[in-house]
């Protein structure tokens, strides 16, 4: 099966639909912050909720924070 045929299947998965709608609404794709699953229906639902509220879906995922007391928090997603 050629890529174009598979692309059709992938572009109809829930998350792909939600990402497209987000791009159409806000002009840019949602920012998930970490690893996502291809076509993830649960995440797609969250993106739709966010669009319905009129808010872009942006998850802030800082990778390194230096605190005032000299400690630090490092995060990998």
């Amino acid at each position: 099966m050629k890529y174009k045929e598979i692309e059709k299947i992938l572009s109809n998965t829930p998350l792909a639909v939600a990402i497209r709608l987000h791009e159409d609404t806000f002009g840019y794709p949602p920012e998930f912050g970490g690893k996502t699953r291809i076509g993830d229906p649960i995440l797609a639902e969250e993106v739709h909720k966010s669009i319905a509220k009129g808010e872009p879906f942006i998850v802030d995922a800082p990778q390194f924070i230096e605190h005032e007391d000299g400690s630090f928090t490092l995060t990998a997603y």
């Binding site: 099966m1 050629k2 890529y3 598979i6 692309e7 299947i9 992938l10 572009s11 998965t13 998350l15 792909a16 990402i19 497209r20 791009e23 794709p29 920012e31 998930f32 912050g33 970490g34 690893k35 996502t36 699953r37 291809i38 076509g39 993830d40 649960i42 995440l43 639902e45 969250e46 879906f57 998850v59 995922a61 990778q63 390194f64 007391d69 000299g70 400690s71 630090f72 928090t73 490092l74 995060t75 990998a76 997603y77």
Partner: protein
Amino acid sequence: MRKCITLEDQPGFQNIHAPVLQQAIDRGLSGHSGTGKVDWGYDPSEVDKNPPRIPDESNKPRRKRKDFARGKDESWRANRVRRQLFEAEEIGNPKGIFAQSIINGISDKGLDFIGRFLDANPLNTITWHGNKKLPSHFSVSGVGGKFTFNITMKRGRSKLVSTTARHEFGHFVDYVLGLMSYKGDTRSQALFFSDLFPAFGEAFQKEITRLGLEPKKTVKGTGKEFLDRIVEELVAPASKVTRQGLVKGDLNDILDDASGILDIADAMTGGAWVSRGFGGGHGIKYYKLNIPKKFGNSRLHETFANLFESWSSKDKRSWKRMKRYFPELTKVFDEMMSVYGDPTTIFNSVNPTASTTNASESKEFENPTENKYDVLNNERIKDESTQELISMLLHDHFLSEKDRKRIRKELNRRKRIG
């Protein structure tokens, strides 16, 4: 001196609903009134000879209660990981769920690695959340050379959670190996082993060149041919994917199987896969490097975590697929694991309080010790069932000769005492 009381006059006597007690009292009274001898319901002479034994709870040697469930037919290696993860504080889910997630999808060599790793560097906290927006992650907090390790997991489908758990554990391993191998290094503590070990970065770059993934004008245009090929080969109908080692299943399973490879391709291209808009991968913003020398290279971190996830998978085809697409990277990873994955290697602790050895003594790619890893102490061997011990002897190829001897000794002891 005995004091006689009239039971019926005692407060609350009429409210006693204890037939056995009442029958005993009745028997005693009838004996007293009928024969002149109180019938206590037993032979007092016997009682004098053998006074009832009241167990002394304070001196009784107790078998230590296992606070964690042991899975059916679970190996000692899995049980060790379950016990080690039970020591961590687990928030937001019943204790032991993370351990089960790890055990569910991991190979024996992966369990052996994690067991030895956790022995020296325990996980401090496991946090579960139901926030569908927030991703799972590994985090470390450090102050004054002391580190606290935490894995945060999003609740979900068990098969997926198992893969994610190994991915986040891969980050944990990557970070701790960096500290262990380069302790005393003046570089930032935000760096991982994948940042600090030059061969890994070189292999990563070699793959980019070999696969033609150098940056193009747009991120979306980067590595187009390679990404198309991965999709055609891995996300095709079952008849075609069987050749790649994928089993027939629904689309989600096939996509999940391909996710590690696509995530590495995403890291190599700086987010080209994510820019296609199907989900999967980490994204363009995530891979934008600000000060890589200070904060490390997230592309390398994610690649390491995906490699660990695949290397430790129970599904051996996963690593075969990875080798096929990224031979240079998997070669370097296999070399690393020929040392760290060796059952005889002992890990050093990066936290001073938890270790008796100095982690700075650990040298890059040198086996820190020649001693056999002593997992099965005598107490543990005595706790195991005979069947389990025999099974270990027959099937466990990771057992050291010393452990084998101890198991045989214990089996002989049991045989002697019948």
